[in-house]
Symmetry: C2
Subunit: 256 residues, 2 copies
């Protein structure tokens, strides 16, 4: 009559959020985190403490169209009803877009095969008030052809240590090897977005790459220095991190 | 040696604003108004009280891509420098997009020939967190063909009394005659926008028309009742006002 420990039920959720008001996916800067707010709401609905595992952290101010997370319950739940309850209780800047039963072996972080991030640049001389929380307004001229040309250096499999902040440090050197499948510069009204797709991203990697590309456009870093900066595995050689509010987690891909 | 009273300098500005945080263009609901905030900032820069006249009011929560306003000074100013100073001092959700010297006879309201408003509808089942302040999330199904069909009744010259709230009442009946040049329903991702272009709009007219059109789609108002409602000149026969946050003032047209 003993119940097996392996008998539990796992659910996968897709979450969209406007990160402007939050301290990030996980707690940062002693502000409310999106993860903890959803955990509290799950507790209210399921009447039992439930922890949520995301595909990865997003910093304060970073947005997500489709963050993925999983949680486990001892009793089966009705995903459709739970989704409605979550959205009824959560604030309007966090929406559960999808909730489904999944395999007990599914893990939002470890099962992820690839992620897509967009970084939005706003390049008009006068900043659009509607983009102020969603795109980085760059004051200096940006040559988008030069940007795309420099961006192409990052595509492929590299040790990205020079573009990782300290949360990823202290680990073995080959931990910093990632494959960037593509980095495209796409024109959009008033600016451009940089589309990153890769098998994984180190802490602040997207923002550090964008900041470095912009430093190249501003002639603060030499155009041909990128191969050397990558090879050096030294964060100090790369540029500043671009601010968080231009960054959007667009998709996390898993095996079907 | 007496100075003529007519010797003054007039300037025309184009203002974009995210209306979410404000009590409207003019003071409403004892919250800060956009007009008064720009007037205060002009006072700081020009060191003399300066009143600003807009092309018309926008309610609390309504947005503008290109509101137009004018002000008058006793001394000429440098528009390019004043624009930079205004944008340096104003909050990021209000931006002066353009500032130029204009004729002393120009009047932002009385010289206006036509205005364009967009009303944005968000029709996805789960509301997008990024649209929550900029589009009205409609819970019931909306048949966009039916919406466009009903919208066509409003195009042309009509007495719009049935679609005007009390701020426009008490005036002579023919004051409520306006010409709507077009009312188009344009599909956009996750919904649609209603594009209104007309020679003038009564108080809450756009929101009352949108609310009535949605009530028709929800079968709360009969599909064929619109000609009767227009003819009756009775606000009580039309539908509710759609909420302010879906409304955007897009352009004000003047003679060249």
């Amino acid at each position: 009559m003993t119940q097996s420990h392996s008998e539990h039920f796992r659910y996968k959720m897709v979450v969209a959020y406007d990160g402007t008001q939050y301290g990030g996916w996980q707690v940062q800067q002693s502000r409310v985190s999106i993860q903890s707010l959803i955990e509290q709401t799950l507790f209210t609905i399921l009447q039992t403490p439930t922890s949520l595992s995301g595909s990865g952290r997003t910093d304060a101010g970073v947005h997500a169209l489709a963050q993925v997370a999983h949680f486990t319950t001892q009793q089966p739940i009705n995903p459709a009803k739970t989704l409605l309850s979550l959205n009824a209780l959560l604030p309007g800047d966090i929406r559960i877009m999808h909730l489904e039963s999944t395999s007990p072996t599914f893990h939002a972080r470890f099962s992820a095969l690839a992620k897509t991030y967009h970084y939005r640049l706003h390049l008009d001389p006068i900043p659009d008030p509607f983009k102020r929380h969603y795109a980085y307004h760059v004051q200096h001229p940006v040559d988008l052809t030069q940007l795309q040309d420099a961006a192409s250096h990052f595509v492929g499999t590299h040790d990205f240590s020079s573009f990782a902040n300290s949360a990823s440090r202290g680990s073995a050197a080959n931990d910093a090897v990632r494959t960037l499948h593509r980095l495209d510069v796409i024109l959009e009204p008033g600016g451009a977005r940089l589309e990153f797709e890769g098998n994984g991203f180190l802490y602040k990697m997207v923002r550090n790459i964008v900041g470095t590309l912009l430093d190249i456009c501003a002639n603060k870093i030499a155009r041909d220095a990128l191969p050397h900066i990558l090879k050096a595995k030294d964060r100090r050689l790369a540029g500043r991190a671009a601010p968080p509010h231009g960054l959007h987690l667009i998709a996390v891909r898993y095996d079907k």
